[in-house]
């Protein structure tokens, strides 16, 4: 069975906050977007334009006010919280700006977390996969360190390994390099790029760094809740 070419399809997505109150604001106004398997796209735009909001919708952390959203060809509209959680756990990996590891867990355990949540209890295969991924992101030596004792760049690498552990179709990264110095940022970005090329995982990366955005296959620009530009890098 051939997998659908689009990992993500959005059609007519609207998102309002404070619905039903006098403070209701619409943040996204009819987003049309699709992302192909293996694409590495940057989501750019000024602060407050709705990038994080859009990422949360795609990541099934929040629901659109209206519109069609499909992950790997599966529409999400009618799903309950449990089903959304399942889908999120299996198909989507998250990397946040502030690393957001669980400090009480070691690096290895943080990477195992999505598998642990999905399967209920740890097993050897899970441990092996997490360990392999940590080696892949260059942290093979630091597996058993508590997450809180790693540097910012190291934590972000752990977060990337964690995002990949379930072999998701799509990794969503919200300013993954925002807190890092240029050198670490380049390292983290290069790592994501390598994984994208080797494993064909799609990435949607929010960034304020034009230099990094320029190294993506595609740049999607959001202004005031509307996509104003969507350009493929040529050459």
């Amino acid at each position: 069975m051939a997998e659908p070419a689009a990992v993500l399809e959005l059609a007519g997505i609207h998102k309002s906050y404070g619905r039903g109150s006098s403070l209701e604001v619409e943040v996204l106004h009819g987003i049309e977007l699709s992302l192909l398997r293996g694409e590495f796209a940057a989501l750019i735009g000024p602060s407050g334009s709705g990038k994080s909001t859009l990422l949360n919708l795609i990541g099934l952390l929040d629901r659109p006010s209206s519109g069609h959203l499909a992950i790997d060809g599966a529409a999400t509209a009618g799903l309950d919280d449990r089903a959304l959680t399942r889908l999120r756990g299996r198909r989507i990996g998250f990397v946040f700006q502030h690393h957001l590891l669980i400090p009480a867990f070691t690096a290895l355990e943080n990477v195992m977390l999505p598998m642990l949540a999905a399967r209920g209890r740890p097993d050897g295969e899970m441990r092996q996969r997490a360990s392999d991924l940590l080696s892949q992101v260059g942290l093979g030596e630091r597996q058993h360190h508590p997450a809180s004792q790693l540097s910012g760049g190291q934590q972000q690498r752990v977060a990337i390994a964690r995002a990949l552990v379930m072999r998701p179709s799509l990794v969503l990264a919200d300013e993954p390099t925002g807190n890092l110095d240029t050198q670490s940022a380049d390292g983290v970005f290069a790592l994501m790029r390598t994984i994208n090329e080797q494993q064909g995982t799609s990435f949607l990366v929010v960034t304020h760094d034009p230099r990094l955005a320029g190294r993506c296959d595609r740049q999607i620009e959001l202004v005031d809740g509307r996509i104003v530009a969507d350009t493929q890098r040529t050459g």
Binding site: L61, G89, F94, A104, E109, L116, A117, P122, D123
Partner: protein, 403 residues
């Protein structure tokens, strides 16, 4: 991370371990609460058991007597209802009744008794006594007279008697001495003292003279009859209910120890009620303590909960993680509490002593008490965690991660 432990257990223990100070304080708090409950329960069980033992060591659980005779006018002109003069009466068909009683599963022992007033005479001394004719083998299953013998032995063949050591002192008699008994009906018998007992209760000690059933029947002019049937029960607290039922079934008057010791029993009951009230409120404050710590923990961990949710953790998993934390705190606290209670009790027992240095009475922290309090505290912990756990599960991951 042990391979067999579920996610919820791993997360719950990690969270508790990470919040070291908070966890420690609340476990100690729960421990103090549980120790109060365990200490109080053990003390009360010991105290009440001791009092009950003392009370019931010298009386039957139920005493069956002939029905009270219906009072009838003695003289036509008096027109006053009067009780008939006390006269020893036998229980009709007592052998039949005895057999029926012995067959009831809730009755542990049946002992027919022929008793009545008499005078004990020895030389110049003359004492009013209560003569009790018993079958020792049955009687001792209700009142452990055999264990209370301080001199001689409990041997009640024809012509033999066992008396209290107090009475023996007053009469100046000892084991092997002769004792003459005069009953109210005018019969007389001379008996050999085979044993002295000490029931540890002066009122009972002084006037009792035990003889064989047959000896008493002859002396009391009650040949072939018994004046009462003593019963020992399996469950002493059902005495009153069983007594009522026996009255209805046999027509006999049935006096339960609960009725004969009404004040004592009321005191026991109210002690139990007040200790339950204390238990309830201590349990409540333990629950509030656990709940408040977990509420704070949910607020502190909002971000982590948000990440867990983003990583595919379900609401149910989050809910159970926090319920489990409540349960673990309750369990650890209760084990600590049992230990503390045991320490208190040991201390208490070294301090609370009789003037002669022996412990006032034995109290122990029994295993069932530890198990019950552990189960209770775990349950209270889980229930207390319910509100915080629901809040944790309901957290909006978007808000939690951004916050």
């Amino acid at each position: 991370m042990h391979p067999w432990l579920p996610f919820e257990w791993i997360a719950a223990t990690r969270f508790l371990r990470e919040g070291r100070m908070q966890s420690l304080l609340i476990i100690v708090g729960v421990g103090v609460g549980v120790s109060v409950i365990v200490f109080m329960s053990a003390l009360l069980t010991g105290l009440q058991g001791n009092l009950l033992k003392r009370t019931l060591s010298s009386q039957a659980h139920i005493v069956l007597l002939p029905p009270e005779e219906i009072a009838r006018p003695q003289r036509a002109d008096a027109g006053v209802l009067q009780k008939q003069a006390q006269r020893l009466r036998s229980i009709d068909q007592w052998q039949n009744i005895r057999a029926r009683l012995a067959a009831m599963p809730e009755i542990a022992a049946v002992s027919p008794v022929a008793s009545g007033p008499a005078f004990a005479v020895r030389g110049e001394a003359n004492k009013s006594v209560t003569l009790l004719g018993i079958e020792p083998a049955h009687y001792t299953r209700i009142i452990a007279l055999d264990e209370k013998i301080v001199a001689g032995s409990l041997r009640l063949n024809a012509g033999e008697a066992v008396i209290g050591n107090e009475l023996a002192r007053e009469l100046g008699a000892g084991v092997g001495d002769k004792l003459r008994l005069n009953s109210a009906s005018g019969a007389t018998d001379t008996l050999t003292i085979t044993g002295l007992f000490d029931l540890g209760n002066k009122g009972v000690n002084a006037p009792n003279v035990y003889v064989g059933l047959r000896t008493a029947q002859t002396l009391l002019d009650l040949v072939g009859g018994v004046s009462s049937i003593d019963l020992g029960l399996v469950d002493i607290y059902s005495a009153e209910t069983i007594a009522r039922r026996l009255t209805a079934e046999t027509g006999l008057q049935a006096d339960s120890w609960i009725k004969t010791n009404a004040q004592f029993f009321t005191a026991l009951t109210s002690q139990k009620v007040s200790s339950n009230v204390i238990r309830f409120f201590v349990g409540l404050s333990v629950a509030f303590g656990i709940a408040s710590v977990l509420v704070v923990s949910v607020v502190q961990r909002a971000r982590e909960i948000g990440i867990l949710r983003a990583m595919g953790t379900t609401r149910g998993q989050i809910l159970r993680t926090f319920l489990l934390q409540g349960g673990i705190v309750g369990l650890c606290g209760s084990l600590l509490g049992s230990l503390l209670a045991w320490l208190f009790l040991s201390l208490w027992q070294t301090l609370a002593r009789n003037p002669d240095g022996t412990p006032m009475f034995a109290i122990t922290v029994e295993l069932w008490l530890v198990l019950v309090s552990a189960a209770g505290a775990t349950l209270v912990g889980i229930l207390a965690a319910f509100i915080p756990a629901r809040r944790a599960a309901a957290l909006d991951p978007v808000v939690a991660i951004r916050g």
